[in-house]
Amino acid sequence: MKQVLGDRKTIAVLLAPALVTYSVVMLAPMLWSLGYTLFAGNPVRGFTWSGLDNLTKLFTDPKARQAIAFTIKYALTVTTGQVLVGYLLALLFVFFLKRASGVIRTLTFFPVVLPTVAVSLLFEKLFEIAPTSGPVNSLITALGGQQVNWFGAGSTAFAVIAIMDIWRSMGFYAVLLYAGLVDISEDVIESARLDGAGGWRLARHIVLPMSWPVLISALIFSINGTLKVFDSIYALTAGGPGNQTTR
C-alpha cells in the first residue's frame, strides 16, 4: 500500500506539470519582480544595482503616494461596503425571506459573474451627464435635484467606483455570509426570543457573535480582492479625472 501510494515516479508524473507551470509562470516572475526593485534601468539598457533607491523614490514620489493613498481609501471603503451590504442582505435572506430567498439570492448574485468591462461601461452610461443624461441624473432631476457631473471630479468619480464595485459584489458576499447565518441553530434564536431578546439585542448578542467567524473570512477575502483592484477602475475612469482615481 505505502509502496504504491508513495511511489516517487508516480508522484512526479502527477505533480510535475502543475508545479512546473506554476513555478515558471508565477513564482519565478514574482521573485524576478522582487529582484527588480533593487535595480535601476530597463531591459534594453541593462540594469545597474541601485539598492533601496527605488523604495525611497516610491515613498517620496507624490504620484505614487497618491496612488497608494487612493488604493487604501478604495480598499477600506469598498470592503466595508461589500461586507456590510452583503451582511444586511444575508440577514434579509435568512430572517425575512427564509425559504423564498432562493430566487432573490440567484438574482442578486448575477452581477458577480458579469465581465468587469461590461459593468464599467454600463455604469459609465448610467451616471452620464453629457451629451445626454443617464438614468441616475434623470432620477436626480425628477426628484428636483441638481444634476451631478460624476466623472468630472475625483470625489464623485470615486463614489461611482465604490457604488459600482459594491453593486457588483454584494450578492457574492450575501451568499457567502448567508451560508454562515443559516448554520446558526434555530433553537438558539428561539430560546433567546423566549428569554425576551428583541430585534436589536438578538442581533447584537446572538446573531453577530455567532456569525463572527464567517464575517471575518468575508472581510479577508474582500480586502484581498480590493487591494489588487485594477480592471474595474481602469475600465471606468482609467485613473481620471487627471490621476485622481489612479490606484
Binding site: 511511489d7 524576478w32 438574482l107 474582500s222
Partner: protein, 316 residues
C-alpha cells in the same frame, strides 16, 4: 471555505397548524389576539419595500442596457433615458457591433480560455490528487506553496512575463495568454481539488490498490471519474475568472500590430474608442453580447456557480 449554501432550517421545524415563527424578531405576547396579525403585517412593510428596492437596483441597470441596445441614436438624444425603444425589432446595433469585430474577439477569447481551462483542470486535479492522496514527505509544505499563489497580485508578474514572452518570440501569438491563464488558475484549482479529495474516504484508493491498480491507474480510473462534478464546478469558476480577465489580455494582446488577438474584454474596451463615446446603440449592443454569454451560463448553472464561487472565495 467549504461553505455550500444550505436550505434554511427554518419554518420546516414547526408542526403543521402551529403558527409560523414570528418574522419580526420581537417576541409576540400570546394574548395579543386579533390585533396581532395587522400589527405584524405593518411591521413587514419596510422589509418588503427594501427587497423591492434591492431588486430594482440589481435588475434595472441590466434591463436598461437591454432596452438601450435596441434604441437608435435619435432616441438616445431626444427621448428620456427610461423610454422604451420605439422599434422592438431594431437589431441594427447588433449588426453594427458584430461587423466591427465582435466575432473575431469572441473567437480569440475561446481560443485562449478553453485550452487554458483544459490544462488547469487536468494539471490541477493531478496535483490535488498527488498532494492529498499520495503519501510523501513535504506535501503539506508544497500545498502551502501553491496556496501562496492565490495571494500573488497579477500586476507583480506582469512585467517579467512580458519580457520573457518577448524574448522567446511568443508575443503576437495566443500562447502568452494560454500559459499565463493556466498558471494563474492553478493555485486555486489545486487547493480546491485537494480539499475535495480530502473528503473522499481513503479506503477507496486502498481498495483500488489491493485490486492491483497502480497509483496512476487509481487516479485515471477512480479519482478522475469520481471528481467529475467537482472538476466541472472548478472549471466553471475558472471560466468566469479567465473570460472576464482584462489585465493580462490587455498587456499581451493589445500591443501594436497584434490587435487581431484582442479578446472579448479588450475588444469591448476598444469599442468605446472606435465609435467615440457618442455612438450609444452599438456600444450597448456590444456590452449586451458580452453579458449575454455569462448570463446564459449563469441561468442554467446558477446554483453550481454560486457554490463554486463561494468555495473559491479566496480569489477575491
Amino acid at each position: 471555505m467549504s461553505a455550500p449554501t444550505r436550505p434554511p432550517a427554518g419554518p420546516a421545524a414547526t408542526a403543521p397548524g402551529a403558527p409560523p415563527p414570528a418574522a419580526t424578531p420581537e417576541a409576540q405576547p400570546p394574548a395579543a389576539g386579533r390585533r396581532r396579525r395587522p400589527a405584524r403585517h405593518w411591521r413587514k412593510w419596510p422589509l418588503v419595500l427594501a427587497t423591492a428596492i434591492l431588486l430594482v437596483i440589481e435588475i434595472y441597470p441590466l434591463i436598461w442596457l437591454l432596452l438601450g441596445s435596441l434604441k437608435t441614436q435619435q432616441e438616445f438624444m431626444n427621448r428620456p433615458t427610461w423610454a422604451l425603444p420605439q422599434d422592438w425589432t431594431n437589431f441594427d446595433n447588433y449588426r453594427e457591433a458584430w461587423d466591427s469585430g465582435v466575432a473575431r474577439n469572441l473567437l480569440n477569447s475561446v481560443m485562449a480560455v478553453f485550452p487554458s481551462l483544459a490544462i488547469i483542470v487536468v494539471f490541477g486535479t493531478a496535483a490535488g490528487f498527488a498532494l492529498e492522496v499520495m503519501v510523501f514527505k513535504g506535501r503539506g509544505a508544497l500545498l502551502l506553496v501553491f496556496l501562496a499563489g492565490i495571494m500573488i497580485p497579477s500586476q507583480m508578474i506582469l512585467l517579467p512575463l512580458f519580457s520573457a514572452y518577448f524574448k522567446t518570440h511568443l508575443t503576437g501569438t495566443v500562447w502568452p495568454l494560454i500559459l499565463t491563464y493556466s498558471a494563474t488558475g492553478l493555485p486555486l484549482t489545486v487547493f480546491m481539488m485537494a480539499t475535495y479529495f480530502r473528503a473522499v474516504p481513503r479506503e477507496l484508493f486502498e481498495a483500488a490498490t489491493i485490486d492491483g491498480a497502480s497509483a496512476l491507474r487509481s487516479f485515471r480510473s477512480v479519482a478522475f471519474p469520481m471528481m467529475t462534478n467537482a472538476i466541472f464546478t472548478v472549471g466553471l469558476v475558472q471560466f468566469f475568472f479567465l473570460w472576464n480577465d482584462l489585465l493580462f489580455a490587455m498587456t499581451f494582446t493589445s500591443g501594436a500590430g497584434h490587435a487581431e488577438l484582442a479578446t472579448v474584454q479588450v475588444g469591448l474596451l476598444n469599442f468605446q474608442g472606435r465609435f467615440g463615446a457618442v455612438q450609444y446603440g452599438p456600444t450597448m449592443a456590444a456590452i449586451c453580447v458580452n453579458v449575454l454569454i455569462t448570463l446564459v451560463l449563469y441561468l442554467f448553472l446558477n446554483q453550481r456557480v454560486m457554490k463554486g464561487m463561494a468555495a473559491g472565495a479566496v480569489k477575491g
